[in-house]
Subunit: 612 residues, 2 copies
């Protein structure tokens, strides 16, 4: 039943050997791994203007270009840095791998936990923004904003559970449509102003201001605009998802991504200064520009809006490609539960996907579908992992000192310095707005991961065998103590007893008496069976049958000699309807748990199937 629903929703099971066919080529890898980075451009210009315009007024648009240039410069530093990472880390894992190999275990786990937080935030923020786009189009749905966002997450989850290749086809096309419509808008917009000499009609009034751009204001706007760079890491994290040659394909995608982000971000920033878009209104900056360029009810306006909405939702999909992969790498290293490391029936890491679905839906539910509360938490984690991976690369070059190491160390060192500075600025600026939550969560997650690893290490140490030991296989037959508990003599007891009789000679039938009458009947019946096994009877004035049995076994357990084992033979009713099971005492579960705490006690479960 469950399996039928499962295969209907996520498709039939796939063999492990079908794994190779499920990977990305460049054409589909680009939209899948870059929708996060590209979609973040959609709100980066607005974020910069949101800092500048209230202070500088009309003068904001002059400074806008300077900041866009600075961010583009950082973009290229990051791209070069990540090209070096792809070259050196062909198996993916991004900043977790880079930081743990080159700096140390704890920095690696810090990077991993900030990545985890960011993937969850990516899903929550993007689907909320996508939901907002939908509810802006259909205001009647406004009160169901959170529900729509959770439904969107659900749809992406199902798509990803079906497997990677199909999700590329379903989700890839809209990314290209978004790029196309934005590029058309940029070209049309510039053409109208530069060639046709049209003067744009401003949609919102702007007050003049006499204040100048200070360094602090510049840094603030710069750090807000850095949201344009979130998601770049995804490509280097996702190398194992590429078709071979995986490294080369990943580098091509990274280069294409850089070009697209540069063109769209630069173009949009330029257009926003040209058309004097005002941030923080009911209509987004991109929508304002689209209205000014194409007109209020034009086809292209709706095309820009629709593709923007869709790519925001698809950005969530990036996290669904990469978080499960990161979790599987961490699972192999023993830092998260092992189950997260195994592929599901459709070869995707289904458990990681479900974890992401649950956590991000929970976040959306908590903020009731409004991403604004989450945006302050978002950038901190991203820049922590940027800094750690680049500092890791910097240390790598400083240690190896091979080849062109000075040049490479300079690139990564510059990147580390800039991102660290940005990280500190964002941390201070947004501390009170929610960044503190991330700064608490990271050490908590790191501690949990270290504890999990410690547990797995203990288990491994416990189970390790020395193959050359002589004591592994015990040659001589061991004396067996077999106990068959009985409360009523019925078919189920007889079946258990019959099984016990085949196990040896030293068999005891153990009864706890809570009612004298019933015990007398039992003794009589037992005598009529005519078996050699000894019947042991204990009284339980407090009606605690299980406690008596456990105490009896514990006593025997203490007297065991080396290599001796006590075997308890217990019947278990097998009942087909689940609700019928609630009609029977479930104490045998607790009983089993107490008994199995003893090292040399073995439980034999003899099923007795109840026919209905």
């Amino acid at each position: 039943m469950f399996k039928k629903i499962q295969s209907l929703l996520i498709g039939k099971a796939l063999k492990t050997t079908e794994l190779a066919g499920e990977k990305f080529n460049v054409i589909w890898g680009l939209p899948i791994l870059s929708s996060d980075a590209i979609s973040s451009v959609a709100y980066a210009s607005e974020e910069i203007l949101l800092v500048l315009v209230p202070v500088l007024g009309m003068y904001a648009y002059g400074s806008m270009i300077e900041i866009a240039i600075a961010i583009s410069a950082l973009l290229f530093v990051l791209i070069f840095s990540y090209r070096q990472i792809i070259d050196n880390y062909p198996h993916g894992g991004g900043s977790y791998i880079v930081a743990s190999e080159n700096i140390g275990k704890i920095p690696g786990l810090v990077a991993a936990s900030s990545l985890m937080i960011d993937y969850v935030l990516t899903v929550a923020v993007s689907t909320c923004a996508g939901s907002a786009a939908i509810t802006s189009a259909i205001p009647a749905l406004l009160q169901h904003k959170a529900l729509i966002a959770i439904l969107l997450i659900g749809i992406i989850t199902l798509g990803n559970l079906r497997g990677m290749k199909e999700s590329a086809r379903v989700f890839g096309t809209p990314t290209y449509l978004f790029i196309l419509s934005i590029v058309i808008m940029i070209i049309t917009g510039i053409f109208k102003v530069v060639i046709l000499k049209e003067i744009p009609v401003q949609l919102y009034p702007l007050q003049q201001s006499t204040q100048d751009l200070t360094l602090l204001l510049f840094l603030k706007a710069f750090s807000s605009g850095c949201t344009a760079l979130t998601g770049i890491e995804a490509v280097s994290d996702g190398i194992p998802n590429f078709k071979s040659p995986a490294q080369r394909n990943a580098k091509i995608v990274l280069a294409m991504l850089a070009g697209i982000v540069f063109i769209i971000f630069g173009g949009l920033s330029y257009l926003s200064t040209m058309y004097k878009a005002v941030p923080g209104q009911d209509i987004t900056v991109i929508a304002q520009i689209a209205i000014q360029v194409f007109g209020q009810n034009s086809f292209m306006f709706f095309a820009v809006q629709a593709t923007t909405a869709i790519i925001l939702v698809l950005a969530a999909n990036t996290a669904f490609s990469d978080l499960p992969l990161l979790l599987s790498i961490l699972a192999k290293d023993g830092y998260v539960p092992r189950q997260l490391g195994s592929r599901g029936t459709r070869l995707s890491f289904s458990k990681g996907i479900i974890v992401l679905f649950l956590t991000s839906s929970f976040l959306v539910y908590i903020v009731d579908g409004s991403q604004h509360m989450l945006l302050s938490l978002y950038a901190v984690g991203v820049f922590i992992s940027f800094t750690l991976s680049q500092f890791g690369m910097f240390k790598k070059w400083m240690k190896s000192k091979e080849g062109n190491w000075r040049h490479k160390a300079f690139i990564n060192g510059l990147g580390a310095t800039v991102t660290a500075a940005t990280c500190i600025i964002i941390g201070i600026e947004k501390f009170a707005h929610g960044a503190w939550i991330v700064l608490i969560c990271i050490p908590v997650i790191v501690t949990i991961m270290l504890r999990i690893r410690r547990h797995y290490n203990k288990v491994r140490d416990n189970l390790k065998i020395d193959l050359h030991s002589n004591e592994l296989i015990i040659k001589e037959a061991r004396t067996k103590h077999v106990i068959v508990p009985v409360q009523t003599i019925n078919k189920s007891f007889i079946k258990s007893l019959n099984y016990a009789l085949t196990m040896g000679e030293n068999i005891e039938v153990y009864h706890v008496s809570t009612n004298e009458e019933e015990t007398k009947k039992l003794i009589k019946k037992y005598g009529e069976l005519g078996i050699a096994a000894q019947l042991i009877i204990e009284n339980a004035p407090y009606r605690n049958i299980n406690d008596k049995l456990v105490a009896y076994v514990q006593e025997k357990h203490k007297q065991l000699k080396k290599n001796e084992v006590i075997t308890i033979v217990m019947p278990q009713f097998i009942i087909h309807k689940w609700w019928h099971q609630t009609l029977h005492n479930q104490t045998s579960l607790f009983l089993r748990r107490s008994i199995l705490k003893m090292r040399n006690v073995v439980i034999v479960i003899v099923p007795y199937i109840i026919n209905e």
Copy 2:
């Protein structure tokens, strides 16, 4: 840990033989079993006036006495009827026993389910009313009304889990104080008007009305006032809770109860006509009379109010004495889960008490602490069970025709007729106000009880043995097929294998390969162990290890000869911290469930304790 908290809250465990010491004498039996009946008097007068006053105005008070007389007459009919029940049914169980023995199984179950519903409603209605009394005194708590009611239920639950005698001492005294303060009020009230000739000051204005008392109106008011009679059944249900001579003590308590209800109900009805109390105001009828008799801020006014509030809460306690007892009787007959029939560590039927706690708290939560929605549901069930028990007694006399049977049959027949008529009137009158819920719940509960009984019967038939059969004990040793599944060769596997080696010769070690490399390593290691047991390897391209194992066992199971059994030896990790268990695959639970569905497969669990 759990046991410590348990004994702190509900006291140390008691032996079964201590049961006799935990029963009621007359002095404590009266308040415990009659607080429900006595407390219902507190709102019965108000219910009657609520029907009469809106129609008749000032003339209502004349008709009031007629109705009070009619209800008192019914009270005495019921008392005589229940004296006959106590004589004939010394083991308690009330209308369920009477109806099922004399009318049939289904009427008995109908009576039982209406009783169940009423006990739950008693708890919910009484604690809500008690909470209302508290929040009226402390208006700041008004918004926590439901919470207070649930806390009250919680306190009563704990008291009852501690055992019966102690709950009698804790809860008995306030009932006597209530009786005392009401009697003082009645005497003072009559004295002031009759002897001192004082003319009472009316608190609320009343309009005149020219309408007369019609038969329909009389019946409506009569049926509303019948809430005064709810709870009388409790005494005959609770006979086994009395000290011996239980029947005699129960009859004494029943007679005392009748006298008290008659005096209080009659006195209050008389006072309310004398003092012209107006129903449905912010202040209850009893409170109005108390103000008129003693003055607004007098000590006695608060005494009446406080004891009324407490006895309303204690009425809930009646249900906590009787519902668990009823459930234990039903459990013995197999109509409810058997677990409800066993006494807890403190000798109370703890599971029934907890069921009552949960259901009544849930109801209070649903109606948000306002009992008015529940009152319409209340009387229907009570009168269904009254009718059934009296009709049952009537049939009994008609069948036996012994001794003074005509007289006895007349009493029970009259009672059955009157209560049936009342029941129909209430059912019609309150149908739309919620009585329909009860009329749906009763058949649903009856159906569930019949299903449970059917299941227990099937189980009993399945387990029954013929002691004289020759095939019970299988004398010859049976061929044993032992399978030890392995995924990794570690200490835990070695321990299981060693145990399996003591079980016989026909041992297979079964491995499912999902990774060629690992399987090769395993084969090599296994060879080095040097055991005769055959290693069987299957490939699982879909990584469904458990499915493969189950399929393999199923195939072997089909080929078993008579009396042959397959034994699966499985290791189980024993991990001390609960959260560490989540780090290990829980698939073995599902595996066990699938395997145990096969009739002739036995599972051996070999514990492997992980040291931390």
